[in-house]
Subunit: 340 residues, 4 copies
């Protein structure tokens, strides 16, 4: 079977993650990887197995063998790379968010659209087996019409200050995943959003005009309500739960725990915390994510997470920030044009 | 040991519930019960064991043997009965809400205060063993400072239209319990409230200018955020869960289920739904509630659910309605005077 | 509705338990209670509400008003009281075991049979809602033909030495409940039993030629296998679990826990232990047990736990002791006559 | 870092499993694989990545580059291959059981001992994260002295008749894993074993003088009791649970389930079955198993599952068969010499 020749832009944590998954996959051939520095790849599997390791991004755009590009560089570079990749007629997998500017995102996606290349947004959680089963249960109508969609999403540890500074803020950096999840589950667009946010975990966030704790309420076109609760630090691990409540029942996905072991003594029953790191929690989801991208490229299957999905989640993150800043409910219709 | 002589006003569902618990208790003597009609008590334990069964409420106020009155009649009668009981120098246990009017509630509580009688509000859930353990865990600082307080509260079935019509609306009738619970757990007052509500379960609610589904977000004085999600109908039973997330951990109370039995076949693992009726779910809590009232009367212990608690929950229900109607965040300071 | 006039013989822990449940029941009238000493009943509900409190057991047998007798005295007195009750033509509820001697038990049950009075054995666990649901699931054929029946039964604390001395040994005192449970669930008789037992909890048991830990394997007529594991002391509470594995699936009843609360911190997730005391764990079962006895007496419903059930469980306890002592598998056919 | 050059004998299901794990590991280099036929490897990763694929087993023994051999061929060939590998001074990883004959196993292990090569037995479950945590909890003394060790081990589906015929019987083929697990957890040797077994799942087993259902009770040197329950077919999936009960508490490892999702409707709460296939359930354990072997070879760490462990488990399987056939408790001292 034909393998897809791939180039990766960005060899940081998420770039290396995709690189390693691609190296293990039979669907892809990792031909090249680029970053502004590449010393840190010394003695890694990437260095040993990837033919082209370069600091010149043009080596990727100009390589006629490369069919698809994974954009895993810092967010401020995404829009430009997307346009260049599209013009080089290479399919694109792009990490979230597409950009920090709705206008830039719209323009980049417009170039993609005109070029005809395929574009997948990097919302890995859609491919988690638990969340996928929730999605399937909702679609099967087993719980009836969705009334309330709840997402609990709490990180185990705060990111470093230098990361927070350039993160685009909690809504754009972290909640964006949850915005995608509620849209994914609701099968309907948000029409109204209202944010209650606070700085409770660490004063560092305030310094960067950011928050670390939030409750975000949404109303969907189909009438359903949604709510996300976020914290930048959960002492007990990475807390990732979802619930969809409908007129015939409820479906819930709980956390995955380190082991199934329980110890009961006079002092109570003790069991393991949720998995601590997102790479552990979503390890399989990251693999499924690129398998799905490959299926779109090799077999023409529908993309399960499009550029429009990326844009819509960004738009919600943008609206959330306004709602927080202005302490009011935002109608999404205020933020036209909402369509790309 | 001395028993407290009690009279009950109102022999509907909740009045009979208290009557039966009082009949089984060693702390009380149920001397009298009154209602506008009493035929339905024919052949019940109440009829057999209660000396005075009367349609004349004065038989209770004028009975010098009676020390304490349980007010379980319809909400529109509460304020008047509270004032009469207080003036008759009888201690008061009053079902929620105290009244449909903040002003009436304030006035009634003022009479109570001046009379010096004790007054307990009927928020039974504070006495549930699960929720009490959550409260104790929060107070013990085991989970640190509370950041997010979550209440899921969904009824198993919609009430009849005639009930809804006179209920004061979902926030005053149902969410009022959840408002009390978030205050109880937060140990801090709400400063801001924002409601997203909808009519998804049954069009009947809309007819009475009411909703059946809501997400309610609050900000507390101590900085914590709170969120309640409500539905008037959960197909799988009475869904009553709470979670307090703090900087050192999280504490959760789940539902109580009918049995602990699991059946696993080729088709999956099936276990029992949550208990279906509030009388089953909170059976023990209702007993603890009156035990606590007795402890205040007999031993001078502090009242665990005061008139002020009743007023504050009403105020939140009132604010919630405005927030829903005006689609905006309400600052509680808008609604002065907040103190009685 | 007619109430059954009852006398209770024995006012120890279990006698008082039944007395209090009977006092709360609308199906019975507790007319008399007797014990060799009655001082300990001073100031109890029993003293206040029971017309006849006596040290003369004849006051019960000779009372023509009494229709049914609960035998809750020490085991060595059971057989004699059963015969006297039967001859006095009074229905009998008898605590386990019926006696310490198979021959005495057979003789007593023969007198019962000849007299035509009804006789219920005190295996309260058959009336536990969880175990009853397991039973119903097995009978409904949802898990198919039973292949393996497992009972875990561990007490929270060892009994005092003076109790152990007269207990008849662990198999007769404690495992007898589990023997009844496996018979109940299997719907088939044991044909073979093999015991592996040990003295691990406290050397006191060895002093009384007794054990405190055991694994007991059984083969049933219908081919199924059964296994019980026992300990006289589980540090984490009263451990009472059952599992029936069949060709179409498995049904399990877990423990009931004190609360549904979970606390997760950096150190793991902590939840509550199983209920600690048998009176808590089986509180409702004891009520259902006497309700069932009343249904047999008042409405002619079938007895759900007969004298034969009592005898068969004793026979298994007796066989278990031989298996332990002789370190070999016992065929129940060795112990004829097995039928009364 | 130096990689261990490996040859694999046997390219059936388990041989291919190890081959694929070795191909992905950085600790090993898979130099050669052999089987009596190799056509089935056509177009597999094994064919693409393994330099030597041969039907001549001597190509492995004679290859001076190969340091270690994985013996994954049919059980009847193990003993001979072990001896040849040892004499060729190659370290050995051998699948279970070592042989069908205790004498052959002893002789083979004697050759291993004399040669000084390292030998690991293939009990993968010791390396499962859940069971390893149970082991660690027991060793840490958190539950005190072990009193009862319970293993539930039920396969999801019966093997084909041709497999059963050559399997050595259920105890040698399937229970052998559980025998290793109870020894591993008890940290003590079995002194007595008693089996109750039956043919309930499929008459095919009886045809091969085999059973499909069993309860196996053991007594350990340290006084603890153990019990295993087995079935060849659990309709709901691969059921693998363990429990160690001690004087200070209990530790339990439950099954791993397909997802964490629960769906609650009017009909109850439905969740996923245990993982169905042993390759799914123990996927990570198989990787840890070879990592542990590598650590012994590369860094001189202790072997965590020795030849003696393999022999002891076989001896228990052998004793179990006698106990079943002769319907009696077997003292392990009857089966001398027990030490190799």
């Amino acid at each position: 079977m034909r393998r897809i020749n791939v180039g990766i832009i960005g060899a940081g944590r998420i770039g290396q993650l995709h690189a390693n998954n691609i190296l293990k996959s039979k669907l892809f051939e990792l031909r090249a990887i680029t970053d502004i520095t590449i010393e840190h790849l010394q003695n890694t599997d990437i260095q040993k197995q990837v033919p082209i390791i370069t600091t010149n991004v043009d080596d990727i755009f100009n390589d006629s063998e490369i069919e698809a590009i994974f954009i895993c560089s810092s967010t401020d570079t995404h829009a430009d790379f997307i346009k260049r990749a599209a013009r080089a007629r290479k399919h694109i997998f792009c990490e979230k968010p597409i950009s920090f500017s709705l206008e830039q995102t719209r323009k980049a996606l417009k170039v993609v659209e005109e070029s005809g290349v395929k574009f997948q947004s990097g919302f890995n959680r859609r491919f988690d087996k638990n969340f996928k089963k929730v999605f399937d249960t909702v679609r099967s109508n087993d719980i009836g019409e969705p009334h309330i969609i709840k997402v609990t999403s709490r990180d185990p540890e705060i990111p470093p200050a230098e990361y927070v500074e350039k993160s685009g803020g909690m809504f754009m950096d972290m909640t964006i995943h949850d915005f995608d999840m509620v849209r994914f589950l609701a099968g309907s667009e948000v029409v109204e959003i209202s944010v209650s946010a606070a700085n409770l975990v660490d004063p560092m966030f305030e310094k960067y005009d950011d928050v670390d704790t939030a409750i975000i309420t949404m109303r969907f076109e189909n009438g359903a309500l949604g709510v996300i609760d976020n914290s930048r630090r959960a002492a007990y691990g990475y807390d990732q739960r979802i619930e969809v409540f409908g007129d015939k029942g409820v479906v819930q996905a709980g956390n995955e725990h380190l082991t199934s072991v329980k110890v009961a003594t006079h002092d109570g029953v003790v069991s393991d915390n949720p998995k601590y790191f997102f790479l552990d929690r979503y390890q399989d989801a990251y693999v499924e994510e690129i398998n799905s991208f490959a299926a779109a490229l090799l077999h023409g299957e529908a993309l399960l997470c499009t550029g429009d999905d990326g844009y819509k989640a960004e738009l919600l993150a943008y609206a959330a920030r306004i709602s927080w800043k202005e302490s009011r409910t935002i109608k999404m219709s205020e933020l036209e044009p909402v369509n790309i």
